[in-house]
């Protein structure tokens, strides 16, 4: 399950400090990774809003939020979609966690995490579990067409909680 992406896109791995960034939420408010220190953070990069299936990756995580919250973890979704697109998507899917717009310069944050697909102009389906001190403790890059589910995230959070 935890096969890392190889080749062109090598995403940042466990044991690396997560690079700090600041991006806008759907309300235009800015969130920095640094400001989330003190709790585990789940950073979920995904290619685009509006995948045409029920229970797409973000909708699924929305349903699983109570399980993440048992570990006091903050979930953040990131794609290159703009703030207005994120807002419509979040409203439509009733998302109860922030979506950040990695919109300008496009994909800059995805690039910092090694999770940008230059040919497609989107991010990978890349997951990072970051501990309370900002260290990446688990990462996983899923084949772009496969929604990775939430099992790997929960196992990583469990390992963090010891």
């Amino acid at each position: 399950m935890s096969k890392q992406a190889e080749g062109a896109n090598a995403i940042l791995r466990a044991g690396t400090m997560a690079p700090d960034f600041t991006l806008a939420t759907t309300s235009g408010e800015l969130i920095s990774l640094q400001s989330l220190r003190g709790h585990p953070v789940i950073l979920a990069f995904y290619p685009a809003d509006w995948s045409p299936v029920c229970g797409d990756q973000m909708a699924l995580y929305n349903e699983v939020l109570p399980e993440f919250q048992r570990f006091d973890a903050q979930l953040i979704g990131v794609s290159v979609d703009g703030m207005w697109c994120h807002r419509a998507f979040a409203e439509n899917r009733h998302l109860r966690f922030p979506l950040l717009a990695d919109f300008e310069p496009k994909g800059a944050v995805a690039r910092m995490f090694g999770a940008y697909r230059a040919n497609d102009g989107t991010s990978e389906r890349a997951l990072f579990v970051i501990d309370a001190k900002g260290m990446i403790r688990w990462s996983y890059c899923s084949p772009i067409e496969v929604n990775p589910g939430a099992d790997g995230i929960l196992e990583a959070l469990e390992a963090l909680a010891g």
Binding site: M1, V53, C54, G55, D56, Q57, A59, L60, N62, E63, V64, E67, R93, H94, L95, R96, V146, N147, P148, G149, A150, D151, G152, L154
Partner: protein, 175 residues
């Protein structure tokens, strides 16, 4: 490769022979249109394999997306507690477009179950924990949308039209 973390057991709704070589598990949501589309396909697949296949349904209601999904799942479990899980499973999918508490009560009546008893079970959330257990086992097993299928314990990361499912199941049977 994601795998089923909670093995099929006595607490499951199982259709088919215990000795079947192939086990197909579906995590589904009665209000999900994709599950609704998969429903007749799974029936065809069951007919195709006969005794060689057993089918298991587990609840994975996406309650933020589907306002009646949880109540539908609890209705199915209520029917299950009264020995009517599969007839209710079928009725729910066949009436997916007209979900409401009233519909659920009427479907219970159709199966000879007391609508008042279902009403009370829904109000008391009698089957909430049973449904959540299914949901949690699904999350742990890497369910990534509805429906998600597992064939002999391995997640089926492919389409679920008849031909594709049959081919994948045949392969598992031969393995």
């Amino acid at each position: 490769m994601a795998t089923l973390k909670t093995p099929v057991g006595a607490g499951d709704h199982i259709l088919g022979s215990e000795n079947a070589k192939i086990t197909l598990v579906e995590y589904g949501d009665f209000e999900c249109p994709f599950c609704g589309r998969a429903y007749p396909i799974v029936k065809q697949v069951q007919e195709h394999f006969g005794d060689r296949l057993r089918f298991v349904f587990r609840n994975f209601p996406l309650r933020e997306l589907h306002p009646h999904a949880t109540e539908a799942a609890e209705t199915a479990e209520f029917a299950g507690a009264n020995g009517k899980f599969w007839p209710m499973h079928d009725l729910l999918f066949e009436n997916q477009k007209r979900f409401s508490t009233k519909t659920f009560l009427a479907l219970a009546g159709e199966l000879g179950l007391a609508p008042e008893a279902l009403e009370k079970a829904l109000r008391d959330r009698t089957f909430e924990e049973r449904v959540r257990q299914d949901f949690r086992s699904g999350v742990r097993s890497g369910v990534n949308g509805t429906p998600t299928f597992y064939i002999n314990g391995a997640r089926h990361d492919d389409a679920y039209d008849f031909e594709v499912l049959v081919a994948a199941l045949e392969k598992a049977a031969g393995a």
